[in-house]
Every structure is written in C-alpha cells, then in structure tokens.
Amino acid sequence: MQFGRFVAKRVALVIPTLFGVVTVGFLLAYMLPGNPVLVRAGLLATPEYIAEMAQKMGLDQPWYVQYSRYVGGLLHGDLGQSSSTGRPVLEDFLQRLPATLELTLASLCIAVAIGVPLGVLSAVHRNTLLDHVGRVVSVFGVAMPTFWMGLIAVHLFYYELHLAPAPLGRIAMNLEPPTTISGLYVVDSLLTGNFPTLWSSLGQLALPAMTLGLSVMAPVARMVRASMLEALEADYIRTAWAAGLPARQVIYGDALRNALIPVVTTFGLVFGFLLAGNAVVESVFAWPGIGNYAVSALLTKDSGPLQSFVLFVAFSYVLVNLAVDILYGLIDPRIRLS
C-alpha cells in the first residue's frame, strides 16, 4: 500500500509545479511585444477596427482578467484560439502532437541505442583508447547545434548522396498517411501492414530522429559510464568474480543491470532536452509538430499555441519524471519494498 501513497504524494507535488508553469507561460506570452491583431489586421486596419478586433479577442482586458479567463478555460479543456490558424488551439495541438511524439520517441530510442552501449564500453574499457574515443564521439553529438547538424545531414544525405528522402514532413508526398490508430505513422503502418508507407515514414523519420537523437546521446552515455564504473567497483561484483561467473555475465549481467537503474532517472532530463531540441529540428525538416507551431506562435505573438506548448512540455516533463520514479520503484526492489 505504501507504494500507492508514494505515488499520491508525488502527484500532489505536481499540481503546484504545473500551476507555476501555467503562470510563467502566460506572463511570458503576455510580455511578448506586439499585438496579435496587428499581425492579422494588416496595414489598412484603422485604429477603431483594431480596437474592435482586440475587444473581440479579449485582449483589451487587464492582464489578470485575461489570466483568470485563460486558466478558467484551461480547466475545461479550452486552450484558446490560435490567431495564426484560426482554429481552437486544442484542435491544432491534437493534429500536430503525434508528429512530435513520434520524433521524440524515435530520437530517444536512437539516443539510448547508441548512448547506453557507448557508456558501458567506455566504463568497461576505462581509460583506454575506446573510452576516450567513445567520450569524444558522444560529446560531439551534444556539441553540434541541432540545426547545423540537421542542415548538414540534409545537404549530405538528401542532396548529395540521395540516400534520404526530401526533408519535408512525415511521409512522401504521393503517399497517403496510414489510417490513424496511434497517430504515429511508423506504428500505424506497421499495424495496418502497409509497407510502402512504413518504408516512406521510416525514411522521413531517419534524419530528424538521428539529428535529435545524437544531440541528447551525450548525457545518456555520460550517465551510463559513471554508474557503470560505480557498479563495477561494488562488492557484489567482487563476489561474482570470486564465484567464477563468466566475465560476460558479471559485466553485462550483474553490473549493467545495477548500473541502468540510475540511468532511468536521467530520462526525465533527457526528455526535457529532446523537447527543447524539437522546435529547431522540426523547422529544419519541415516536421508538422508542435515545436515548430510554438516557435512561429512566438514570432507572431500568437499566445494561445505558445502557452499550450509550454503547458504540454511541462506536463509531459512532470509526467515522465513521475513515470520514471514509479519505474524506478518497480525495477529496484530496495525501493519497491521499503
């Protein structure tokens, strides 16, 4: 039962954080200079016309009225109206969210698929050439600005080598997206056994996911290396050696399993990095996700989408951390039963 209480306490902590994020998000959007009406109204609009539109959008109210109206709306799912697409923000969000999720998950898989083995090998062969090379390679991913890496990747793989498809969105132009089940094109085309779309969406996903994945690979590799080093020095590993267990079992069995637990906790942090890098990568690869949507909202002072993006990122960051804590409890008996 105390596990339930542990979860409940963590959830309770989430509420003030989310509330804080909503407020900071609102203030940020409110502070942005410029008037959304003007962006839409164009030059010919007379002051009266602008005033009328502003009044219609409720922008003439003092900030606290707008704030309470925004929070009120939030409570029953109304994320407000986006002036750049003229649709309720919720609708835009739901339409764009799967794209961002698919990119983020793919990047996470790549970051883990490369980061974890790199970290383990660096730790096992500490201070050898492999360790140094591994560290430099993983840090390289972080050192390159995502848009720089992305554009070079596009230029190299799409334009020069013709290996990757055009960096434009989630699927080839002449193909229809798969029937929506999860919203993730790769998953949906797998489920519906539609191989042409599977191949095309994988092709489209490869470069952006690689770019974003490499940029977060370093924290994963660094964390795995540190906790692996720690595990290899543990007493139970000396016992395992003394018990004649084969090296492979000692290192990649006992040591690795114990080393991976703290790594799980960094997934919250890594997820944060991914969402941040998302906006830039989405622009370079014309990926119809929410990152891109938020950035353009920021530039045209379209506060609805910006606030919702901030709320979504905060909400998912908190959710992931909560999930990580619970996962931590599940795989580590010491916490589960304490």
Binding site: T239, A242, A243, L337
Partner: protein, 325 residues
Amino acid sequence: MSALLEVEDLSVEFATDDGVVSAVDGVTLSARAGEILGIVGESGSGKSVLISAILRLVRPPGRIVSGRLRFEGNDLLALPEAELEAIRGARIALVPQTPRTSLNPLMTVGRQVERLLRLHRGMDKRAAREAAIAMLERVRIPDPKRRAGQYAHELSGGMCQRVMIAMALATEPRLLLADEPTTGLDVSIGARILELLRQLGEESGAAIILVTHDLGVVAQTCHRVAVMHAGQLSELAEVDELFERPLHPYTRALVRSIPRIDQQIALKPIAGTVPSLVNVRPGCRYVRRCPDALAACRRQRPPLIVAGNGHRVACHAVGQSNVVR
C-alpha cells in the same frame, strides 16, 4: 600429506601515480585439508591482497610479480582465465567481509545460490532450487524457503553472511577463503558464524584460510596461524605454540597487547605506525618499530627459518641468537 594450497615467495605490486606499492612481499605458506589457517595482521598488512592473489583476482594496476601458487597440484599462475573460472567458486570459494553489500541487490538470495549450483554442478533449475534451500537450511537460516525469495536488504547482516557461506559451500569447494568474515558483525553473531565455519569445514574436509585482525578469533578458531606485517610474513606456527612462545618481535608485541582477564599486566602499545608501502626499502619492514633491529634487518628481507616443529619465523635477530635449533 601434501598441502592443498602451496604459496611460495609470492609478491604482488600496484603501480600508482606516486610509485610502486609492494603490497605482498615474498610470502610463503600452505593450507592443508581439514585445517583452519589463520592469517592475522594490522589493516594494510596485505592480507586481503593475498586472498585476491590466490583467487587470481588481482586486476590492473595490481599484478603478481613473482612466486608460485600451486593448488591441488596445478600451477594457478599458469592457468588460462577459462580454467580459472572453473576453479573459482567451485574448488576455491570466498566468504567476504561485508555480507550485505556482497550480495547482488537485484537478485533474490536463493537465486544467487542456485545459479552457482547450476554453473558449477550442472544442476537443472528445479534441482538447483531445492539444493539451494537445503544449503540455506544447512547454514541454519530459519524458514529457508521464504528467505530464499527475499532480497539482501531484507536480511540482517548475520543472515547475509550465512547466505554468503551457503554460496561458498554449495559447490563443496576444497579451499574456503574467509576474508574477515566477522568484522562487520557484532561479537555474538560473529562467534556463531565462526562456529558454523569450523563445523562445516570439518564436515566437508575443506581447508579454510581465515583472514582476521582479531587475535581472539585466531585463538578460538584456528589450528595454525600466520602473522603478516606490511606485506611480509613474520611468523607461522601452531596456535598454542604462537601464543605461548612468540619468537618474532612483532608477534611478541602483538601477543603482549592482548588484554588478559587473568593477569593484571599493563598493556604496551607497539611503537610507530605501519610503514608506507610506496617505493619501500628492502629488508624487514618492522625494522623502524623493532627493539631488536640489526644492521642486516635493513639490508635483506629475513629468510623464513624453521624454529621448531612447524614453527617458522622471519627475523635476523631470532636467527642469530639461535635461541632455538
């Protein structure tokens, strides 16, 4: 009868930033089946390094620089790693000092015993589980079936040490290395653990090497004892012989420092501290603290000379005074 384990002139060094650390310097001793050999010495005297060397577990930057290690007739130093894995945990087993942290936290204690049985005894899953539970019972763990499914953090220190012993003895090893098994436990539990070790040793006929810094433990449990100081073997003798007639100045000082209930004698602490083993000078390493130090003691390491039935001592002063023939 030939000794189960013969260690001859074994030296182990560690390359560090500050220089070469000579952790073990020319140690010669042997362990016989059914006998408990105590190895005693202050912390930092190289006891644990010796144990690691016997198991060929000295990892870089440490390395065995000289000496011979014979176990059951074959030369451990020459064996390839694969064959060593067949000996470790099967023919030679280790009981570590800190039981709780020496168990894998993510695996139930039962399974940690089982996997050794399956690895070294080729048992199938079901047989191994039953044997493991039997083994836990043999080391007197109450309600072994339930305990087998629990994790290390759910057991007490004493209980964990019993599991370690179960793991060690499950594969019926010929040699059991107990590296300060009771240091982490309080006295009463420690005594019962030692009693268990002695009794299981007798039953299996295995040789036991008991490493400790507690002379009381030596007196109560060991048949023979080796005294180590700063990586060198000072003296080796039967337990009673050593306590009644300590020859090496260091052993004499040690025996004198044991509080005696029956006599009212002032305790005399040993002067000086254990010397640093970094880039150490040749010769006897007790010289700085030894009242009987001779010029020779600074030049060469005193050879191990026979001083009576099975009583060996490495000390120039004792040698020259030919007190004993």
